[in-house]
């Protein structure tokens, strides 16, 4: 049973220092921006590695919602729903 608005976030190796080594954690929100804010609240410091001060995703970071790069969707404003999978990968380019 998936709680409404709870998504699974896939954490890359260099950010697992913030999640106690966990590769997959839960966070909630209805957009990528809110999910990242919640992630940052749960794991202090992690959000600063992913976002600029203005909340936009850093240009070398790719965020995926169910495998789709949010840059091709609505960026940080991309909507998410309960059960979605949000992936964070440092851009070794496109990552398709």
């Amino acid at each position: 049973m998936t709680e409404s608005g709870t998504v699974q976030v896939l954490i890359p190796t260099p950010l697992r220092q913030y999640t106690g080594g966990e590769a997959r954690v839960s966070a909630s929100g209805d957009t990528v921006a809110v999910v990242l804010e919640d992630l940052h609240a749960r794991y202090p410091g992690i959000g600063d590695r992913i976002r600029e001060d203005n909340g936009e995703i850093r240009r070398f970071v790719n965020v995926f919602v169910n495998g789709e790069n949010v840059r091709k969707l609505q960026g940080a404003a991309t909507p998410v729903k309960g059960g979605d999978e949000v992936g964070i990968i440092p851009a070794m380019a496109g990552g398709r």
Binding site: P12, P14, F60
Partner: protein, 310 residues
């Protein structure tokens, strides 16, 4: 046998380019000479042609490669391209473990040379690729020869034998600083040892991403990564950490002020080179700084690094 192969003959002897306008824009005076070694001029398009050839040559000579064995290694791209090129030209199968996050351009280039690609978990980065290749080799040791670019002595040896002498003669022995990004660390280990042998006062500068979570493909944040067995921390005189955004900005600037379209790791090396130049300003000695330009920018187009956004 190798000496008759066209791409083998084309490896090395790359140009050394003086960055006059870029250096002036960065605030460096005429007493600081800034040079970039154009490693993208190698036939496989990167500095990695040198260690890949050294590793392959050594494996062919010792008989480790041959009798249908496939060369296998983990690579974020450039070394894989070099192996794939050599495998096609010399005639041995090449299998590459590439992080699933590697750029689509790189996978397409590898496929063009006929290499077999195995993707490792994109969330585990290049260390995940290293672990996967070790598992594959352990499971089927008769099928594969593990080239192990991070641990093979032929990697730094190739730079000791070629990159070092080229830089020394191209600067007529005037080099004061050698700046190279650290990935396998082979470039700095080999070239650095050669240059120190010629002149112990040459400063060897290693360039790393400033943080573990970064976007400078090909470079490693050594404090948090698997340490390459060929790395000796006594070799670098200096370590400089470079921010991904700075590396991208300098790569973009170089295209626009020098007409040189380089990749992010070259941008990172130049950030460090400029920092060395600014330090040299405070002494009255002239500085001749050589940075390694690992590859050009074409394999990074899908990053948006040269997007039209600004």
């Amino acid at each position: 046998m190798l000496a008759s192969i066209a791409v083998v003959r084309a490896i090395g002897n790359t140009p050394l380019l003086r960055l006059g306008r870029f250096a002036r824009d960065a605030g460096l005076p005429d007493t600081v000479d800034l040079w970039l070694k154009a490693e993208w001029a190698n036939p496989g398009g990167s500095v990695k042609d040198r260690p890949a050839l050294g590793i392959v040559r050594s494996a062919l000579a010792s008989g480790q490669l041959g009798e249908g064995k496939a060369l296998i290694d983990s690579t974020s791209g450039n070394t894989g391209i070099a192996y794939a090129m050599l495998g096609a030209a010399i005639g041995f199968p090449v299998h590459l473990v590439v992080p699933g996050s590697a750029s689509i351009e790189r996978k397409q280039i590898l496929a063009a040379y006929g290499a077999t690609i195995v993707e490792s978990d994109p969330y585990d980065g290049s260390d995940g690729a290293i672990r996967l290749v070790r598992e594959l080799v352990a499971a089927d040791p008769d099928r594969y020869w593990y080239a192990d670019q991070y641990g093979h002595p032929a990697n730094p040896a190739a730079h000791l034998a070629t990159t070092g002498p080229e830089v020394w003669s191209q600067t007529e022995g005037r080099i004061t600083h050698f700046v190279a990004g650290l990935g396998t660390t082979g470039t700095l280990m080999g070239t650095g040892r050669f240059l120190k042998g010629k002149n112990p006062s040459v400063q060897l500068v290693g360039v790393q991403p400033a943080e573990s979570f970064h976007g400078i493909e090909g470079l490693k944040h050594l404090p948090t990564a698997i340490t390459p067995p060929i790395y000796d921390d006594c070799v670098p005189d200096r370590q400089i950490g470079v921010d991904t955004d700075e590396a991208f900005d300098v790569a973009r600037a170089l295209a626009r002020v020098e007409g040189l379209f380089v990749g992010p790791s070259t941008g990172a090396a130049l950030v460090a080179a400029v920092e060395m130049g600014k330090e040299a300003l405070t002494s009255s000695e002239p500085a001749v700084i050589v940075a390694i330009g690992c590859d050009n920018g074409s394999k990074y187009l899908s990053t948006g690094l040269w997007g039209t956004e600004g």
